[in-house]
Amino acid sequence: MKAAVVVFPGSNCDRDCKTAVERSTGAKVEMVWHGETQLPAGLDLIVLPGGFSYGDYLRCGAIAALSPVMKDVKAAAERGTAVVGICNGFQILCEAGMLPGALLRNEKLKYVCKPVDLDIVNGQTRFTAAYQGKRQARMTVGNGDGNYFADAATLDRLEGEGQVVFRYRENPNGSARDIAGIVNARGNVLGMMPHPDRAFEPDLGSADGALLFQSVFASA
């Protein structure tokens, strides 16, 4: 069981992600600098963490999406390795073209930082299997650009194909159709704005995020 957390200049949830994955699953987690051209061999999970990569210059995630390491992240995803992008990581996955859509400025122009209740829309993915019939999860969001946008046809397709994984019960940022997290068509790349890495032990207010990481390794 092995995971990597990619560290971009400006990432600030990288160490949280490492701790969350280690404590949730017991997996060995390596930190990989964005300038590397090759990921470690034998990974079951790649995490793109939250933060403000490249100071959110140009657009959130736009420059990180072109980092040297992203070529290998894409290649690993094409081989079927699980990839999860959390918050800024979700923005990077969209900018890299690994997930459809984009994250816009929050509807009320406000940075939103609070716990949110989520519906688990698809409990059959590689990232949600361990929730086992649990239909809701609680995690925190912390974002200024978390307002998911895609055109109507794309949204219809995401919903029709079961690619919407998490939905907000109370939409905090104006996201289209209350979407909080989606997977790609193949089901091995997940992007989500809420932070499972801030919800992996009851002392943090919720342990629901641990189940997400456990799901990945249960299916690895």
């Binding site: 140009l58 736009a62 969209c94 984009a102 816009l104 509807e107 122009l109």
Partner: protein, 79 residues
């Protein structure tokens, strides 16, 4: 040659910054202001003698980095 690139959110994509600026302008008394869009302008030099070639090069840059065409449209001026 000098390239100027204007990037705006596409029509139909809610521009919350534009809305906020618009309501602030209304507050200052310019109640007739409508449809404010906040965008971004980039200026840079490109090494090209031929205007058409420079334009093509800058458009490629827009598609790949300067604009996110899922949500944004762009306009290129080369002089």
């Amino acid at each position: 040659m000098r390239a100027t690139v204007h990037v705006y959110l596409k029509p139909g994509v809610l521009d919350v910054q534009g809305k906020a600026v618009e309501s602030a302008l209304h507050g200052l008394g310019w109640g007739d202001v409508e449809h404010v869009r906040v965008g971004r302008t980039l200026e840079f030099d490109v090494d090209s003698a031929d205007k058409a070639a420079a334009e093509a090069k800058v458009k490629d840059m827009c598609e790949r980095l300067l604009a996110n065409t899922v949500i944004e449209s762009y306009r290129v001026d080369v002089a």
